[in-house]
Symmetry: C2
Subunit: 488 residues, 2 copies
């Protein structure tokens, strides 16, 4: 990305301290970064997935204080390559199978480039009309793709954690109309329910909203890690009888630990029966609803008051891009809209001001990258790639099932396989140790990256497939590494 | 950006639906976008600042449904240029004087490009060691630049609205230790105090945290729009006597309406006296503390429990980048840390996992762009540019003051001038109309963009200077337009 021989420190006259990088210098640097990006995305499969750095190693290479004089673009791009890159975990690597494997595709990266250059803040319509209107259009396109009925209104937030927080704030607004004025003080306690497999962001939201740990109740899940709806009903009966207000039920379509799918149709019935807001966390699973065969198992999610779907998870959009759909957007606005004079505009009433739908006032132009992704791939391209990931997961499932000493720990509805090595004649503790050793060994090798979870008390390997570069051969290689290491 | 003659629809074999853009095609497109960005940033001053579009105009040009087949990169870049760009408000325009004028500088854009390509999620150390460690380093660099003592620990959030929400959640944790378990139900009411000039995000945070509107008390400000500290003390005395818990006081260094600076040293004394958490909103003013002459007027802010500073406002970093400093980061962690098994890593205890300091689990690699900006400009370059903006604002103030019929409505401590046309012999209502007409006329002309506020009941023009491209000539032209239009 440049040449170390170029002087690192810009020698400048005081006047040239003023202003931005000269346009031609920026053009040159942006082209070099473009080349680097193209090379990186082409060659990332040859890098170790996990960097071989110890805590503190990157920090030690950086000066403890900022420079007094300015430095050249060359110097900082060189240092990026020499100091930062070796400490990066390569989420782009085709053998990155950790957490949820994601892809910030080429069209999405181009969208981020342009959004960074435009640097608009889409807080009110006037502060960037096209950003506000394109957000509306892409939200409607995505709604159609995943088969939600008209009437679901979407806004883009940064993360599912915030989307869920906003949705549950709206739920509180309904369950405690009086709290908008006086707060929760002196009011009867309320609760939010989610399965014991739900994402930690639900509990974070409950704490943030002032309900406390007691305001969260984890509903047991069944043998397939799906919410036990009878248990939910019993809890709601018990709690309402005790004077606890049922604020919301959260159903998850694609849990983080195993991607299990809560029976959302039956949950919707119970929520309605008790007057609780139904929020659906489809952050991971949502994009798969583009496939008709998946949408079927989401049946009932259209009865939810709010649904979160993350294009930055399984829809090839760079982080961050989380969509919050709601059938009752007016409640979100009621919870959050405060318009000071300096943000009033002539168009009020005629337009949507997106700042009114959540906490964040500042809003990046996130719809641009999503628009590029939806157009470049089209419905068929999105579907083909998601289906290919699911096919690879099912193939791995088959390999594991047919190999003695190995077991599948959870159903495989999407692109994640949960499995472990459990040879005959070993105790559960011994098996945990064996799997920990396999996990650490594979991750240390740099050839692939897996994370883990704990299912039925046992350490379980998670292999998540969601990268556009991942092929059957990458999955096979990781599996063979594990199988061979286990048997050696 | 390409050629309309190139077919818009990619004709693809089913197999080529799989995978990302081919690397060479991406390289070519990224180079073209780089050229477009360089041209745009060079020529943006020739575009109308505000687009001449009516609500719905952009939406009408877009298809109501997403494409079934994929489209070419050329087609989407062309549509960006032809449909989206004409509906963009140009925050990069040197005569963009609305809201807070900001700059996403060249080095910052390069940082965003690389961050989009890497697409890492810095939630835990292991998920990207370099991103976590660079965030620590840049936070310490910025702390030194603005003169905060060691012990202030920083993390990057997307917006000041979220930073403030997190800070006030920590304040609640201290004021209501019992609420972490049982929520606010049944507890005595509490309040958060800020001046009547504070940002709407403070009240949004109060509502989100479950305090209700009654949990927010606006302290009157003095003639210079600074918090009246005696009034604050009286309110706290009154409220504590009535059994209301003082949760937090928010002081603002650079309010949005006028950039007034609350007397933070005296506010700190009162907050301490009543045991309230002191949060400082220096989202706008904070970066100016790089200048010794400004830092003086912030004296006392180092006694705050938490401080928010936004590099995306006046530190030349593309949105979004908001820094939350805290002297008590352990309380933030206490409020928010929930670690599910699938996020546990071997390095725990040895490293910081940044997801623990707020609601959002997903975290973009935002420190990269900030690092580039701090290095490219250096301390002296940052200071020179901020000082130049302040000088231009003071010069405009002088022009206004010396022109009969015009008045300055608030002190000018930073880069914002609040002024209005108030010719002799006109009523306040007539003056409001005159200023509204001037504002609308200038904005419609496309030559400059101003926003407004209301001060002492009167419509007031706000001219904010913070763009790296803005020169004295741009400010002069806007001022002359207004002056000439007023007198014609």
């Amino acid at each position: 990305m440049g040449n170390r021989e170029i002087s690192a420190v810009r020698s400048v006259a005081p006047d040239s301290l003023l202003g931005d990088v000269p346009p031609e210098e920026f053009r040159e640097a942006a082209r070099r970064v473009s080349d680097w990006m193209a090379d990186y995305l082409r060659d990332v499969g040859g890098l170790p997935v996990l960097p071989a750095v110890r805590p503190g190693a990157v920090k030690r290479l950086l000066p403890p204080s900022p420079p007094v004089g300015g430095e050249s673009l060359e110097a900082l791009l060189d240092d990026f390559r020499e100091i930062i890159l070796p400490g990066i975990t390569h989420w782009n690597h085709p053998s990155f199978f950790g957490y949820f494997s994601i892809t910030g595709s080429g069209p999405g990266i181009l969208g981020e480039m342009i959004a960074a250059a435009l640097n608009v803040n889409a807080m009110v319509w006037r502060s960037s009309p096209a950003a506000t209107e394109l957000e509306g259009v892409t939200m409607d396109w995505l709604r159609q793709l995943i088969g939600l009925p008209a009437g679901f209104d979407g806004v883009i937030n940064d993360t599912a954690s915030h989307s869920t927080l906003y949705a549950l704030a709206a739920a509180r607004e309904v369950a405690y109309p009086e709290s908008h004025g006086r707060g929760l003080f002196g009011l009867p306690p309320g609760r939010i329910y989610a399965s014991d497999q739900a994402h930690s962001s639900v509990e974070k939201a409950v704490l943030t909203l002032g309900f406390g740990q007691a305001g969260y109740r984890a509903v047991p899940s069944d043998g397939d890690f799906r919410m036990d709806v009878d248990a939910l009903r019993r809890m709601l009966q018990e709690d309402t009888a005790a004077g606890v207000r049922p604020v919301a039920v959260v159903a998850t379509l694609g849990t983080t630990s195993t991607t299990s799918v809560d029976p959302v149709g039956r949950i919707a019935e119970v929520a309605r029966e008790f007057g609780a807001w139904l929020h659906v966390d489809a952050a991971y699973g949502g994009p798969a609803a583009i496939l008709p065969e998946v949408r079927e198992s989401f049946s009932g999610w259209e009865e939810a008051e709010s649904i979160v779907v993350n294009p930055h998870k399984w829809l090839f959009t760079p982080v961050d891009c989380s969509v919050l759909y709601s059938r009752r957007p007016e409640i979100l606005v009621q919870a959050f809209s405060i318009v000071p004079e300096y943000l009033r505009t002539a168009e009020e009433g005629e337009v949507r001001n997106l700042m009114d739908y959540g906490v964040a006032l500042g809003r990046r132009f996130r719809s641009l990258k999503l628009w590029f992704v939806l157009r470049y791939f089209g419905r068929d391209g999105l579907a083909a790639n998601i289906r290919a990931h699911m096919d690879m997961a099912r193939e791995l499932e088959g390999w594991v099932r047919s190999t003695p000493g190995w077991e599948i720990m959870a159903p495989v509805p999407f692109g994640l396989v949960c499995f472990r090595y459990a040879p005959d004649g070993t105790s559960g503790e011994e098996q945990d140790e064996l799997n920990q050793r396999l996990l650490d060994g594979l991750n240390r090798s740099g050839e692939a990256f897996l994370t883990h979870t704990r299912l039925r008390g046992r350490l379980t390997l998670r292999l998540a497939i969601g990268n556009l570069k991942t092929t059957r051969a990458h999955v096979e290689r990781a599996w063979e590494w594990l199988r061979d290491a286990a048997s050696s």
